[in-house]
């Protein structure tokens, strides 16, 4: 009985972690971070060129 309960709990936890994984938007967070980084790098690089030429 006890073992069955433990098994059911662990199945539930696997299910919920799977569901969590399916709904996770961690990759989206990383991806928009990359977009932000590209914008900053490009902007700073050209601004550096501007400063070195004035």
């Amino acid at each position: 009985m006890m073992a069955e309960r433990q098994l059911s709990r662990s199945t539930q936890s696997v299910k919920s972690s799977n569901a969590e994984d399916e709904n996770s938007l961690r990759g989206t967070l990383v991806s928009v971070g990359v977009v932000g980084a590209v914008i900053i790098i490009v902007w700073v690089s050209v601004f550096w060129l501007y400063m070195s030429r004035v």
Partner: protein, 558 residues
């Protein structure tokens, strides 16, 4: 209950479709579009090779003639006719067919555009209009060139009114219902197009008597400003068209659902309202414009980054959800699960990725000090080849692989899909080589709008040549891409096996909330649009008129 209702709606929507009469409209526009792409592509290669010093044009064909024709055929004719063909198909699909009078308007628009394009093209071929695709004064073309442009604009207006009439009719017979998402996008595109084209219409109407000699001079500042009122907005009209496919079509192709409709509609509304008042970032080094007005336009140009970043977030979220459902694990495992072998996904996906450097480059262009580094250099040419040639055009190519067989009641075969994938790869490499080298050599000072020259073998000019060779190689690959694409389009239009093709329209998430009806208040959005246009343009244009610089006579440099 909700699910049952959703299923009913879904079944109902699957019954909709583009009828034969409406399909003819879209296919006719697409035919003009891809013929223009072929001619414009050939001219693009000639230009690229001449600019690299690898080809000398014959005496009867000058570089600026080729540049003008390439720009007008691709930036105006190709993009306009594709947009109308695609948006009218979307409208027909969403509304269950176009109204007969709207179809008539689309045909009238088609005829007007053909007449206009022929007039413009003939004038360029006769070397009477080598005024570059930006055609603002003081360069003056033959009057018929401007008359041709008027016909093009009238054609666009006919299509705008068609969309407005059909939208109004649908709202009347479906009271209290939100219009389908693709039709909402169509409204956004054509509202923006109508108001954006007002500026260039006024400009062209003033240039006709000037080019005919009836008026001696023209106000160059006003002419340039009215052009960029339109030119800046046009870029975002194409962008909005591409975005409609990113939000609504691509999620269905990857087996996902579209993102929250409220956000999507907000993106459309923001792009429509905020767009027009950014024109001065194209004139940021022009004299005679006050710093405060320039700052206002810089701010408005940068405001477009807001809906663009919202789109980046939403699209990544759609991809991640779909990829995880397909078994993607970890932080970025979902990326590999996406259907990379499907050209209907691959082409628009690369288009979206290209918008990351494209958007970053746009922010550089619009920043005052940074603009001084890149102004009038090949960087700008590289920028619009990445944004238009990749982000917009590759989305258009991706659309063509399902929409054209759908309209011609044929199939996208696995073989054609493979050809499409190869075309996409060739196009991507070509654009990376060409636009990449243009960006880099632009930073070294290589000017745009100039035929090949070594400036008397000046060492700086000689240092640009290797980049220009890479540009020529990229342009060659792009023409190969154009030829494959045009072959694919006409094959799918006339020769592919008969059959059914899906019109991929994504559904909302199961737990999606009802569409907010306040987003449908187009009257309010137009009032807000006019308010920001007035805020940005009334003061400077009055200033240009009241404190006008000496007027310019028509100038012909060729």
């Amino acid at each position: 209950m909700e699910n049952a209702l959703r299923e009913t709606i879904s079944q109902k929507s699957s019954l909709l479709g583009v009828n034969t009469e409406d399909a003819k409209v879209s296919l006719s526009y697409f035919s003009v579009s891809f013929v223009s792409l072929l001619i414009g592509g050939v001219l693009g290669l000639l230009q690229g090779l001449e600019r690299a010093g690898l080809l000398q044009l014959p005496p009867w064909l000058n570089y600026y003639q080729v540049l003008t024709a390439h720009g007008i055929l691709l930036l105006l004719v190709f993009s306009t006719t594709f947009t109308i063909g695609y948006q009218y198909a979307n409208l027909s699909h969403s509304f269950g067919g176009l109204l007969p009078k709207v179809r008539k308007l689309a045909w009238i628009g088609f005829a007007l555009m053909i007449v206009g394009t022929i007039m413009v093209a003939v004038m360029i071929v006769l070397n009477e209009a080598s005024v570059l695709y930006t055609f603002y004064p003081p360069l003056a073309a033959h009057p018929l060139f401007y008359v041709g442009l008027v016909f093009l604009v009238l054609g666009i207006w006919a299509c705008c009114f068609g969309v407005f009439i059909n939208h109004r009719h649908w709202k009347k017979i479906n009271p209290g219902q939100p219009v389908p998402l693709l039709a909402f996008f169509a409204m956004g595109v054509f509202v923006l197009w109508f108001f954006a084209s007002l500026g260039v219409t006024i400009e062209v109407l003033t240039l006709i008597p000037w080019s005919m000699g009836l008026v001696e001079t023209t106000n160059v500042m006003v002419g340039r400003t009215l052009f960029w009122w339109f030119g800046h907005s046009l870029v975002n009209i194409w962008y909005l068209v591409a975005v409609s496919a990113w939000y609504v079509i691509v999620p269905k192709i990857i087996g996902g659902r579209h993102f929250n409709e409220k956000l999507i509609r907000l993106v459309v509304i923001l792009l429509v309202i905020l767009n027009i008042p950014g024109g001065f970032h194209h004139q940021i080094v022009d004299p005679g414009i006050s710093l405060s007005v320039k700052f206002l336009h810089v701010f408005m140009s940068l405001s477009i980054a807001v809906p663009s970043l919202m789109t980046a977030f939403a699209m990544f979220a759609v991809f991640e959800r779909a990829g995880r459902k397909l078994g993607g694990k970890g932080v970025l495992g979902w990326f590999k699960k996406l259907p990379w072998g499907d050209v209907r996904f691959l082409a628009p996906m690369i288009a979206m990725i290209a918008f990351i450097p494209g958007g970053a480059g746009g922010i550089v262009n619009t920043s005052n000090q940074l603009n001084q580094v890149v102004h009038n250099t090949l960087w700008v040419v590289g920028h619009f080849h990445v944004t238009v040639g990749m982000s917009v055009v590759m989305t258009f190519f991706g659309i063509s692989y399902w929409l054209i067989p759908y309209l011609s009641k044929r199939q996208l075969t696995p073989k054609m899909n493979k050809i499409g994938v190869i075309q996409t790869i060739i196009w991507t490499i070509g654009m990376i080589l060409m636009a990449g080298s243009q960006h880099l050599v632009g930073l070294l000072g290589d000017p745009r709008r100039t035929s090949f020259t070594t400036y008397g073998d000046h060492p700086t000019a000689l240092s640009w040549i290797p980049y220009e060779y890479v540009m020529g190689i990229g342009a060659t690959l792009l023409l190969v891409g154009v030829i494959i694409q045009v072959y694919a389009v006409f094959n799918m239009m006339f020769f592919a096996p008969k059959g059914e093709t899906e019109y991929p329209v994504a559904e909302p998430e199961d737990d999606a909330r009802p569409v907010p009806m306040w987003t449908e208040r187009w009257g309010l959005w137009i009032v807000l649009l006019l308010m920001v246009v007035a805020m940005a343009y009334v003061v400077p244009i009055m200033d240009f008129v009241l404190h006008a610089p000496p007027g310019s006579p028509p100038i012909r440099t060729w």
